[in-house]
């Protein structure tokens, strides 16, 4: 592959597997230490129960939690984390679908890193849910007694299907590369040969793969939309809760997820480009294109957000207003406004500037924007989940402050995700080798 930065070959791509410096080992050690801390925190929670978190029931007796009749929020950062990871998981299909279905070959270079992200994100979402259960030892009940009336079962089904689909998709697209690696890295031949499962590498086989992948991509797109829609239905169908019961939730969540996903892909693309000096592969053009998509979808998201706020605040008379006031002027107000102005405002500005001329595109700044955006989106989901639960009709406003143990456990998903991702990078090419073969 030629670009302004020189010629990229297969070896360039395989650097990610072969080149392992001290920085890498330090990075992995740090991750392992953090993961150890997370495991310890989880152990505490498993033995002592969810009381180690800041979550509490809606109602508490007047003198139980202090001098006020105020309860807490039964859901907190675990559920927020769950929604976040589901959002991130939209990375894979957003890119792969574009590449395969719309034949945007330019972006094939980032397709695999996106799919791996999905593969890692979905189990993290599931793990977040496991953290949140009062009786994780009874998780099997979901399968034995699962009832389809419940939006949680829709979640379970959709996410499992999505996961299965992604694994198959990834494997099929990876198979050729695995076979290639069997030759290129003789030291690990036994591993790759087994994994390739008698891949012959014939044209007809490749053709079959591509066709399957095309249809799979087509099938997974609606699944992707379904996944985040059913996640939204967990909230949006609840008549009991002010500011949740809203028709806009399904599309609001899906659009938000796509923003998350695309921003995550941009982040990854930029990181790998910087880490392995892959300017030749992940060109400015590719980055520009991703940021363009991000900008457009962000605009749609902000538009939906404005519609939500206007609906709540215009008449100034609804129960939803109590929640909105709590968010705008209550204890979380600093978080909310920072998220809005810094978390969304700054990325929006960065992303919008290139409209006024391509020279305004700065890959590094856009990378910062993509990271800030995902953090902001994490906070945004928090502001959706918790304030409504803290402002129950019939009772007074509650308090929710996540505890250090809770935060450690929640962050554990990030360390684990990083470890899994790093493991993948060291085993398989993070860029589809077809790219460098000029296909």
């Amino acid at each position: 592959m030629k670009s302004g930065y020189g010629i990229a070959t297969e070896d360039t791509v395989l650097q990610s597997i072969t080149r392992t410096g001290t920085a890498f080992y330090v990075f992995v050690c740090v991750l392992l230490v953090l993961t150890g801390e997370f495991l310890y925190a989880w152990y505490i929670q498993l033995t002592a129960g969810l009381v180690v978190t800041g979550m509490r029931s809606i109602y508490n007796a007047p003198n139980y939690m202090g001098p006020y009749v105020a309860g807490g929020s039964p859901w907190g950062i675990y559920i927020t984390n769950f929604i976040f990871w589901i959002g991130i998981s939209h990375a894979g299909i957003a890119i792969s679908a574009s590449v395969r279905l719309m034949d945007l070959k330019k972006y094939k270079v980032v397709a695999r890193m996106a799919e791996v992200l999905t593969l890692v994100a979905l189990p993290m979402a599931g793990l977040s849910i496991v953290f949140d259960q009062g009786r994780p030892d009874r998780i099997i009940n979901l399968l034995v007694y699962g009832r389809f009336q419940s939006p949680m079962l829709w979640d379970l089904t959709a996410i499992t299907t999505y996961f299965m689909g992604t694994i198959v998709y990834l494997y099929l697209s990876l198979r050729g590369d695995i076979d290639e690696l069997a030759h290129k890295l003789p030291g690990r031949e036994w591993f790759y040969k087994r994994l390739a499962m008698n891949y012959e590498g014939t044209e007809s086989e490749k053709e079959r793969h591509n066709r399957t992948l095309w249809w799979l991509a087509l099938a997974i797109v609606p699944i992707m939309v379904t996944v985040h829609s059913v996640v939204s239905f967990v909230f949006g169908l609840m008549i009991a809760r002010s500011s949740w019961y809203s028709t806009i939730f399904a599309i609001y969540f899906v659009v938000g997820a796509i923003v998350s996903g695309v921003a995550a892909v941009y982040s990854l693309a930029w990181i790998f480009r910087w880490l392995y000096k892959w300017e030749a592969l992940i060109t400015d053009d590719v980055l520009k294109g991703i940021s363009w998509a991000l900008r457009n979808i962000l605009i749609i998201y902000i538009y939906l957000w404005i519609a939500e706020e206007l609906t709540t605040r215009y008449m100034g008379a609804s129960a939803d207003l109590r929640v909105s006031d709590y968010l705008w002027f209550g204890p979380y107000a600093p978080i909310f406004w920072t998220m809005a102005v810094v978390g969304f405002g700054i990325p929006a500005i960065i992303l919008l500037k290139p409209i006024f001329g391509k020279r305004h595109f700065n890959p590094g700044l856009t990378f910062a924007a993509s990271i800030i955006l995902n953090v902001a989106l994490w906070v945004k989901r928090f502001t959706i989940v918790v304030p409504s639960l803290l402002n129950p009709p019939l009772y007074q406003t509650g308090i929710y402050i996540p505890t250090p143990t809770e935060i450690s456990i929640m962050l554990g998903t990030f360390w684990l995700a990083a470890l899994l991702y790093v493991a993948f990078i060291k085993l398989f090419p993070i860029i589809d080798l077809d790219v460098v073969k000029g296909e």
Binding site: W75, Q133, R138, I239
Partner: protein, 212 residues
């Protein structure tokens, strides 16, 4: 069930009786008394001396169209034929969706290992037919299924209300005490506009300070 708010003293006897009968742990109340008045319990709203206060005892409404039953992913919450919404503590996985879905904020959750006083290690208090709940499950009012099923007794809260505020019976039987009250007095149900069809009817409080 019918609760007569024009008579309720806010004395918590029903709530404590319930706590005793079902051996509820510290921090969990299936039956609570809310003060409809000032910010603090037992204080009125309004400016002195034009103040007002009433009490609202609230427990599970055993809705006919119960949101909690709909959302429970493992069907631990089920509606019985006699109308009681029952929570199967042996099946609950502790996801707290019922806490989130209930418009009345009813279900309570065992965040930590339940602590009872007197502690259960030596003997269980209350009704032995009610199992002790473990950590990590939700719990809520059961209309005392253990008393209703055996011997057709009323729930404990009805039995111990000292002021004649609470009534219990078959809503489908037009001659039962509860049906009589509903027919003769104006009753309301909580958040009726949501369509949950609660089984608890409230006789509204009289407006105090109206000179007769």
């Amino acid at each position: 069930m019918v609760i007569d708010l024009s008579r309720c003293l806010g004395c918590w006897s029903c709530a404590v009786g319930c706590k005793l009968e079902n051996d509820e742990p510290i921090g969990i109340w299936w039956n609570r008394i809310l003060t409809n008045g000032g910010q603090e319990p037992d204080t009125p709203s309004g400016d002195y001396p034009n103040v007002k206060m009433t009490y609202l005892p609230i427990n599970c409404q055993h809705c006919d169209n119960a949101p909690c039953v709909k959302v429970c992913p493992v069907a631990a919450l089920r509606k019985r034929d006699d109308g009681i919404v029952f929570l199967d503590w042996s099946r609950c996985i502790g996801c707290r969706y019922c806490l989130v879905a209930c418009p009345y904020g009813i279900p309570a959750f065992n965040w930590g290992p339940p602590v009872q006083y007197p502690d259960n290690s030596q003997f269980q208090i209350g009704n032995p037919a009610v199992p002790v709940r473990p950590v990590g499950v939700s719990e809520k009012c059961t209309f005392c299924f253990q008393r209703v099923d055996v011997g057709n007794l009323t729930p404990k809260c009805i039995e111990v209300c000292p002021a004649g505020v609470r009534f219990f019976g078959d809503l489908d039987d037009p001659n039962s005490q509860v049906s009589q009250i509903i027919q003769t007095k104006p009753t309301v149900r909580l958040r009726e506009e949501l369509g949950t069809e609660p089984s608890v009817y409230y006789v509204p409080p009289r407006n105090p300070l109206i000179k007769v």
